[in-house]
């Protein structure tokens, strides 16, 4: 039971990190990332490949962060002058391209077999027995650091400028903000956090394969952000935990409805997540808690964001 709890909390930690990343990209900067799973994969594979080649875990993690941030900046550059739809299309297509590389470049990624026995950092010092707990503590500490950094960014002038760009880029540009640079930076910062999460994923599971970096990861992250309230980092934590409780809680469906096969229960759970996401968008688009805003209330009848 203790082991199960530690495992669940570690999953939740990874989900929180991904949610925090998406929250700065989408929540704060209004840049939609449908290819989150692909960036996550880049982070995980970078860390795993380096660690397999004898690079120590901390350097490998730093490299994963840097590489994922660089890819994020590059992909966002392609569409920055265009409408948000194009970033959505490009990131999704990028994620598909990443998946193809992961599956086909066997010399680098091991293909569909994946990479196994990824060496964990500091395993000699901590020992195998308490490693899972120590790993969870490290994850929580990293979340605290990332959260603190992101909160600082959000409340700094940079964060205000980002929200200004999100709400109306023409006004922001008129006020002398460098819209392009702001957007690339926001996407790269989010990418760095995704890279960190990817590296943690690789070290936690010690085995990765391309199937783990498919669309459902992206859907979970969006669900976390939507449930938590777009733009609010504190809400996001609650959102990620809620989504994980939903996911894990419905795992027991198969005991309740024994006629269904394991495969059917899995599909049903994912369907519920999708339905939940749509229902949130329809009935509570602001999420459980909404972003703290200084602005005066919009006059009745005005449509925000149009």
């Amino acid at each position: 039971m203790m082991g199960y709890l530690v495992a669940i909390l570690t999953f939740v930690s990874l989900a929180v990190l991904l949610g925090l990343a998406l929250n700065i990209q989408w929540g704060q900067a209004g840049m939609i990332n449908f290819g989150l799973a692909g960036f996550y994969g880049i982070g995980a594979y970078t860390a795993a490949i380096l660690a397999k080649h004898g690079v120590d875990g901390f350097t490998a993690t730093a490299a994963a962060i840097a590489v994922t941030a660089a890819f994020s900046a590059g992909v966002s550059l392609a569409t920055l002058r265009l409408r948000e739809d194009y970033l959505a299309i490009t990131t999704l297509a990028f994620s598909e391209a990443v998946r193809l590389v992961l599956m086909n470049e066997v010399w680098l990624t091991g293909g569909t077999d994946g990479i196994r026995d990824i060496p964990r950092p500091l395993v000699g010092v901590i020992g195998g027995e308490h490693y899972e707990v120590a790993f969870l503590v490290a994850c929580l500490a990293l979340i605290a650091i990332v959260y603190g950094l992101l909160e600082r960014i959000v409340s700094a002038p940079f964060g205000r400028a980002l929200r200004a760009v999100r709400d109306d880029d023409v006004v922001a540009a008129t006020l002398g903000k460098d819209v392009l640079a702001l957007r690339v930076k926001a996407f790269a910062v989010g990418g760095a956090v995704i890279g960190l999460a990817g590296a943690l994923h690789a070290f936690y599971f010690t085995y990765i394969d391309p199937g783990e970096f498919a669309g459902f990861v992206t859907v979970y992250a969006f669900m976390s952000v939507i449930v938590g309230g777009k733009g609010s980092n504190r809400g996001l934590m609650a959102g990620a935990v809620t989504v994980m409780i939903l996911l894990e809680g419905t795992r027991f469906l198969k005991d309740v409805v024994p006629v269904l096969s394991a495969q059917q229960v899995a599909s049903l759970r994912l369907m519920l997540i999708g339905v939940g996401l749509i229902a949130m968008l329809i009935y509570r688009p602001q999420g459980l808690s909404s972003e703290y805003r200084l602005s005066a209330r919009q006059p009745a009848g005005a449509e925000p964001g149009s």
Binding site: W26, G30, I32, F34, A78, T79, R81, L82, R83, E84, D85, Y86, A88, I89, T90, L92, A93, F94, E96, A97, L100, V101, M103, N104, D169, G215, F216, T218, V219, F222, I226, S261, Q263, Q264, A266, S267, L268, L270, M271, I273, G274, V275, L277, I278, L281, I282, P285, E303, P304, G305, S306
Partner: protein, 286 residues
């Protein structure tokens, strides 16, 4: 090389159908429908249900699938998109991703991940001056061309088509002029669903039925629509032919597993160099 061009042309016809569907809904509703891949898959499974489970011949199963998916698309419009019409278009994008997720997993729930095949006879390929044309390819080309002709007639010659184009140009103005927006939107979804279903059936005809057949075409379809100037159904056809040809010809140099990767590169190049598409009007706003 000639064989690659022929194959590319046929695969272009195939991609054209969902690309038109995507452009129609984009033009009228102003958001990119990310569930188009899942819709293709759903079309294939509807046909599989009618064909293999109920035993209907494929000529009956295909129209049934088209009608079925058209109805589902209208249902989704009423159940989801219409309710968040007033939100920004990013919300609609995310919602369409949610719809894709639900559709895909509903299919997995009903049919699992097993690979299936439609119940159709296999015929010998036609040969002509050293070029081979599979029976399936011929069917794809003919069916896709007829569907495109029908769409072209609907768009240019009917009241519905005029209403659709008017709403795409300026929805408010169209409504002021007495065009029933809600009904036109419904018909657009029905048409879009029918096209996606037909594409699904044709893909299944040429290969297998499995839960990812539509998703595997998603990048190609979007690339085609963007090349054609997203929102422009006629441009989408040209974009689809370009994508089909580029994918098949590039397969001579790089492994066929990278077909979608090639589409991704083309997509990036178009977005960097000519974001309004090759045939689009330069009215793209941020």
């Amino acid at each position: 090389m000639a064989q690659a061009l022929l194959n590319g042309l046929v695969s272009g016809f195939l991609i054209a159908l969902p690309a038109i569907a995507l452009s129609l809904t984009y033009g009228i509703l102003n958001f990119a429908n990310f569930s188009i891949g899942a819709m293709i898959t759903a079309g294939a499974y509807l046909a599989y249900f009618a064909n293999a489970t109920l035993g209907a011949p494929i000529l009956v199963a295909a129209p049934l699938a088209a009608i079925g998916l058209g109805l589902i698309a209208v249902g989704v419009e009423h159940g989801v998109y219409r309710r968040i019409r007033n939100a920004d278009h990013i919300t609609l994008l995310v919602a369409s991703m949610g719809v894709a997720f639900v559709l895909e997993n509903a299919i997995r729930f009903a049919y699992g991940a097993d690979v299936r095949a439609l119940d159709v006879a296999v015929a010998r390929p036609l040969a002509w001056h050293g070029l081979r044309l599979n029976h399936e390819q011929l069917v794809i080309a003919l069916a896709a061309l007829s569907a495109m002709a029908i769409v072209a007639v609907v768009l240019t010659r009917t009241r519905l088509g005029r209403a659709m184009r008017a709403i795409a140009d300026d929805a408010d103005l169209a409504e002021v002029r007495g065009i029933a927006r809600a009904r036109t939107v419904d018909w657009t979804w029905a048409l879009s669903g029918a096209l996606a279903a037909l594409a699904g059936v044709l893909i299944a005809l040429d290969g297998i039925v499995e839960p990812l057949i539509g998703t595997n075409y998603l990048v190609s379809v979007f690339a085609a629509a963007v090349i054609g100037g997203i929102g422009n159904p006629f441009g989408a056809v040209a974009g689809a032919l370009i994508i089909g040809l580029v994918e098949e010809v590039s397969a001579l140099a790089v492994s066929t597993t990278y077909r979608q990767g090639v589409s991704f590169i083309v997509l990036i190049l178009v977005l960097l160099l000519r974001p309004q598409g090759l045939f689009g009007v330069a009215r793209i706003r941020r």
